[in-house]
Symmetry: C2
Subunit: 336 residues, 2 copies
């Protein structure tokens, strides 16, 4: 098992990436390749004690910045930490890449360097969504703003494979985000996607899920276009944050509420953490020909470690081959 980490990508790179790698090597006993400026990385890794035989540093001379145009950056910066890392996955020298760098560039890199799985029209970002019962996965979380019905079918198949491996479910429940539960509800996309998903025998399609019910955890795999997915994730984040901010104001009302706040401090911290989806490491780009885990731009070392863990699960679970098998069986290229 070997994971390659783009050590120069992310707001806190290379400190968070280096520390995350050290923690991952200690905790999961795996081999890691780190791409980036050799001098900088060696200087940073020197601070930690860990089994250095597990680490290989590959020097790269360029960095893809957040303000770089995605496609131009991937095509132009051939010796960047991100492109070199992607090529290592492509050549089979690493099982998955983890990067907290420029999201657009990483998605473009997935398409251009790793390539799409045969039969997949649009790869999708797949993210964890904490809910009252535990965890769901949602895709597409934002890679494709406009989608066709066949894309949502592909998302359902890929998400189903991923959830069965990662959440250890035998037959994950798959649903479409919609404005009502009944068949026939929604916009053109959801109506046509419903027809496609309900006739597929490989997935456990349970119909539509109303956006209101997502956070209650009635479903395991939630599919939607990337625009809707992004809205769901960001409203969830925003509302949770503003409720906590209002709670904080409530706590400051008077002496009684201040005492109550003191009593609740630890429990509320745990609750807030449970709701913060950035805690759950990275989001895999499903549908490309290799393991690719996108970590948050603002990842700290723990988030990087968790993203590496997801890369390990992705490779161990044989997710890629399983998706290839299911998509091949689907013959989705027949569908418009």
């Amino acid at each position: 098992m070997k994971i390659v980490v783009d050590c120069m990508g992310g707001d806190n790179a290379p400190y968070s990436t280096v520390e995350g790698i050290v923690e991952a090597i200690k905790e999961f006993n795996i081999e890691v390749i780190a791409t980036g400026d050799k001098n900088v990385l060696e200087e940073n890794f020197r601070k930690y004690e860990f089994d250095k035989t597990k680490l290989e540093i590959i020097h790269t001379s360029e960095i893809i910045l957040n303000e770089d145009k995605p496609v131009k950056a991937i095509r132009g910066k051939k010796d960047s930490s991100m492109v070199v890392a992607l090529n290592l996955v492509k050549e089979g020298k690493a099982d998955a890449i983890v990067s907290a760098g420029n999201t657009g560039a990483l998605l473009a890199g997935g398409l251009f360097v790793l390539g799409r799985i045969k039969g997949i029209d649009r790869p999708a970002l797949c993210t964890f969504l904490p809910n009252k019962e535990g965890m769901s996965i949602l895709l597409d979380a934002g890679a494709n703003a406009d989608c066709k019905p066949r894309n949502l079918l592909e998302f359902g198949v890929m998400g189903s494979v991923y959830a069965s491996k990662i959440l250890d479910l035998e037959s994950p429940k798959v649903a479409i985000v919609n404005v009502g539960q009944e068949e026939g509800k929604g916009n053109e996309l959801t109506k046509k996607s419903y027809d496609l998903l309900k006739t597929n025998e490989d997935i456990n399609f349970i119909g539509n899920v109303e956006a209101r019910d997502i956070s209650f955890g009635y479903t395991d795999v939630i599919v939607c276009d990337g625009f809707t997915g992004n809205v769901v994730l960001k409203v969830t984040e925003g509302v949770a944050m503003s409720v906590f901010s209002m709670l904080k104001d409530t706590f400051l009302t008077n002496m009684k509420t201040k005492i109550a706040a003191m009593f609740l401090k630890d429990d509320l911290k745990a609750l807030k953490k449970n709701l913060d989806y950035s805690e759950y490491g990275g989001a895999p780009l499903l549908g490309v020909n290799g393991g690719l885990i996108k970590a948050h731009g603002s990842s700290n070392s723990k988030a990087i470690k968790n993203a590496i863990k997801q890369g390990i699960h992705f490779a161990n679970g044989n997710v890629l081959n399983e998706i290839k098998f299911k998509i091949d069986k689907l013959g989705v290229d027949q569908i418009e």
Copy 2:
């Protein structure tokens, strides 16, 4: 000022509609027409003491049920409490209709009975969205699952008029719900809508608002297609509810947290109420030729009273004529 209330529509009709009307007559000193079964209504109104000269009951023999097909119901049930009430607005005998009945039928009734304002392609449901700073309005909240760019422009103009009257703002800030703030972000619809809205001089367009920031109140009028609007509203509702439900679990952890909960009870109740968008009465359907306020199906008497209040504001604020003036000036029929 005269408001007509469809007394037979809604889960709690006619009890909630009758009580809501009584409260509204007492509080706002207005005239109300009640449509519905005369015997039933008279029997219910008899329970209350109020100025009965303010009330007129118009007998109707049919009821549009929740399971009725919208268009068929509006066309077929000519003597229903809803259709008769709509006709009273059309004929100028009432300034606005309030109904908690079948939503689809009410929207269809708005289109077929009242008709669209000249120049409006798609009327939109406009709803209040509580936020940290106070209140925003969002449209379309679900009347049109699929929209064209010109629709979002119309929503911006209509929402702007409504917010200036109802929230008493001189120049309401208008924004498009999007996946990023920068121009050029989003799907085909939001990109093209951005171009239309930014060149319009009648509205204070501030660009895109990320779904994450909606609940923080940076903007007054939020425009989007009805699918996205519905998702935003329902995720907001769902997350707020599930956070409160998790809080409740947290409170039950041990003796300390139980005491804290006791201290916080009243403040939390107030906070929860502030977040519940059903508290804010009804949602007007903007763009039809008359005042139409859709109340929640589950409205209690207070919600009915608040919806009547919105009808009064709508009529007093001259919202209809102002929208007609702005849309005429827009010449939006030129736009594809």
